[in-house]
């Protein structure tokens, strides 16, 4: 009976001013829809950051040299001598180097990459051998014509462990298939050198070159070096040490960019801050305006419902009952507007997700934070009118009757 009576009472107040109540509802719904969208985008950016870090690997950082190397001298190019040098000087760290080539020239399908790798790759990068095995030192030393294929490329080319594949005039045997996460790091800044897609065929770097030669023997040139710290505590010290080593005159490399988890996060944090500031300001304004319309609705309600307040007090309502009545009215508006705004935005974002690859993440916080905001708005913007209503003296109220 109490709940039904409360619902009837709230309805009483809202029926008295349907126009104002509708206006409050509409403005708050819009504000909440915008809040949900902002949270979903921020969630998407956050998720993208996590994906990028996980794609790079835990405690891993990379040194990338952009591909425009034709006019550089041998000494200014990233090569195998750098991996040997870094491995010798960074005690406890694992070092690996990769060179990427367009796979089409070697006879792979469009979009596939041919990678020359060493035995350390699978210890450093978070790529997993799912079938077969990785290369070991013997494979590299004996220049075995073995290959590891990514699961995506294996599906495309119908390859499996034990199959043979012909690259130009040489035949390679597939000894392993690997899962490669790709997509999050495909940015212009990383030049696709961290994870150049997931269609990859990997061969030992020590196989004699049979493609076009430049100033550096093709077998030794590298696009990227990845270094993994053995323990998280030594990670930043390791980066500083590697930076110092790469500044040594004999090993300095032109146009080198450093990809660290920190640099990835910072880049996205910059966008996150921009979105949060611009979007947050607009949403805050919307919600404050909506909240003020609720206050105005309630204040008018208090003024016009003085006799009703007097009657309620005469029938046994306490000041708290009267205050709560107005607060519940506000909460009904703010929470129903939150619900409507959240549902509307959710549907809209689902449609956008289906049609685009924008970083949008619809997690539980997209619902809980607006609900909490609706609750806080309802209480904050109804506090003053509710207090005013509760303070009306019953005898004064009945005199106005």
């Amino acid at each position: 009976m109490r709940l039904k009576a409360l619902i009837d009472d709230i309805g009483e107040g809202l029926r008295a001013q349907p126009g104002r109540a509708g206006l409050s509802f509409a403005s708050l719904s819009l504000g909440m829809a915008a809040l949900v969208s902002l949270l979903a985008i921020l969630g998407g950016v956050r998720q993208k950051t996590q994906l990028m870090i996980s794609e790079l690997g835990v405690n891993v950082f990379g040194l990338i040299q952009p591909p425009d190397t034709s006019r550089r001298t041998e000494n200014s190019l990233l090569s195998r001598r750098h991996t040997d040098y870094l491995a010798a000087n960074l005690i406890g760290a694992s070092v690996t180097g990769i060179r990427f080539e367009n796979g089409v020239a070697a006879g792979l399908p469009d979009g596939a990459i041919l990678a020359a790798i060493d035995e350390n790759l699978f210890q450093v990068r978070p790529w997993q051998i799912v079938n077969g095995r990785a290369f070991d030192t013997a494979v590299l030393r004996n220049r075995e014509r073995y290959a590891i294929v990514s699961t995506a490329l294996a599906q495309v080319m119908n390859l499996s462990v034990g199959s043979d594949i012909r690259l130009r005039n040489l035949t390679f045997r597939i000894i392993g298939t690997a899962d490669i996460e790709a997509g999050a790091l495909d940015t212009r800044d990383t030049q696709n050198a961290v994870t150049p897609g997931n269609l990859i065929l990997m061969i030992p770097w020590s196989i004699p070159s049979y493609w076009s030669s430049t100033v550096v023997p093709e077998t030794r040139r590298l696009d990227t070096i990845f270094i993994k710290a053995s323990a998280p505590a030594s990670f930043s010290a390791l980066i500083h040490r590697a930076e110092a080593l790469m500044l040594q005159p004999d090993y300095a490399v032109a146009g080198l960019s450093w990809i660290t988890p920190q640099s990835l996060v910072e880049r996205l944090m910059h966008y996150q801050r921009l979105i949060m500031l611009a979007g947050g300001a607009i949403i805050l304004l919307c919600l404050i305006l909506g909240g003020l319309t609720v206050t105005s609705l309630l204040l008018t309600g208090v003024q016009t419902r003085v006799p009703e307040i007097g009657l309620r007090r005469a029938l046994g309502a306490s000041p708290t009952d009267i205050g709560l009545l107005f607060m519940c009215e506000a909460l009904l508006i703010t929470l129903s507007a939150t619900l409507a705004g959240t549902c509307g935005a959710w549907v809209l974002l689902k449609i956008i997700l289906a049609w685009s690859s924008l970083p949008i993440h619809l997690g539980p916080d997209v619902v809980t934070i607006p609900l909490l905001a609706g609750l806080i708005l309802g209480i904050a913007f109804s506090y003053w009118p509710a207090r005013a209503a509760a303070r009306i003296s019953p005898s004064e109220a009945l005199r106005n009757e």
């Binding site: 006799p307 005469a314 046994g316």
Partner: protein, 232 residues
């Protein structure tokens, strides 16, 4: 030998003043009164004479500036706000000049509103409300919105609401101020029937025609309450 029943309401040297920019305005001056069970008292007096202030004190909606108010033998000044509220909601009924109905709600919903702040089960409240409507001959209007009723019917709904949970004391403020002669008679007959059923009534009015319905009359003038003998 039987002793007289104790008064339901007893006021002793009660004064009430309100602050104004020119200092406190004394509305009631040292008023003393005892209301006994079964009485139907009419308080006469012009507007501004202090009738409503007196009713507010009797309804425990306000506290006196000085003096004591006893309700059912209990000194009200010793009660806290919550205890006063409990006493008011269970023991006192009120009827107002402008009915104070919730216009969007039906007649039965308005009568049920009496139980809004009482601990009464819904089915029981519904039973009491229907009884009150029957008593006020309002059953045919039960499902009608209150705003569609005539003035007399609205006042009868207000009375039904006040007595749906039978009060020890029914306080009535200018109940016929907005009614024509015929409706006035109908409403006053309702009060007379309730009084015959044992409900004590304290009615404030400026209409001398209502004196014929009461058992005792008082006149409120310049903040004082004077017993006035009833004439035939």
């Amino acid at each position: 030998m039987t002793s007289a029943p104790p008064p339901i309401l007893k006021l002793e040297n009660v004064s009430k003043s309100f602050p104004t920019p020119r200092g406190p305005a004394m509305v009631l001056k040292s008023v003393s009164l005892a209301v006994y069970p079964g009485e139907f008292i009419v308080i006469m007096g012009p507007s501004g004479s202090g009738k409503t202030t007196f009713l507010n004190l009797a309804a425990l909606l306000d506290r006196p500036t000085s003096g004591t108010v006893h309700f059912n033998g209990q000194d009200v000044s010793a009660l806290n706000a919550q205890e006063m509220l409990t006493l008011r909601k269970y023991r006192i009924g009120m009827v107002f000049q402008r009915f104070c109905l919730l216009s969007h709600r039906t007649v039965i919903e308005n009568v049920l509103f009496r139980f809004r702040y009482l601990d009464v089960r819904r089915d029981q409240a519904l039973k009491f409300a229907q009884q009150a409507l029957e008593e006020m001959s309002l059953v045919p209007h039960a499902k009608q919105p209150a705003r569609l009723l005539s003035g007399g019917e609205m006042q009868r709904v207000a009375i039904a609401r006040a007595v749906a949970s039978p009060p020890d004391l029914l306080l009535v403020d200018e109940p016929t101020g907005n009614l024509d002669k015929e409706s006035t008679a109908g409403v006053m007959h309702c009060f007379q029937n309730l009084n015959r059923r044992g409900i004590t009534i304290l009615l404030a009015t400026h209409n001398p025609a209502l004196l014929k319905y009461c058992t005792r009359s008082l006149t409120c003038r310049d903040g004082s309450l004077i017993d006035t003998p009833l004439t035939e």
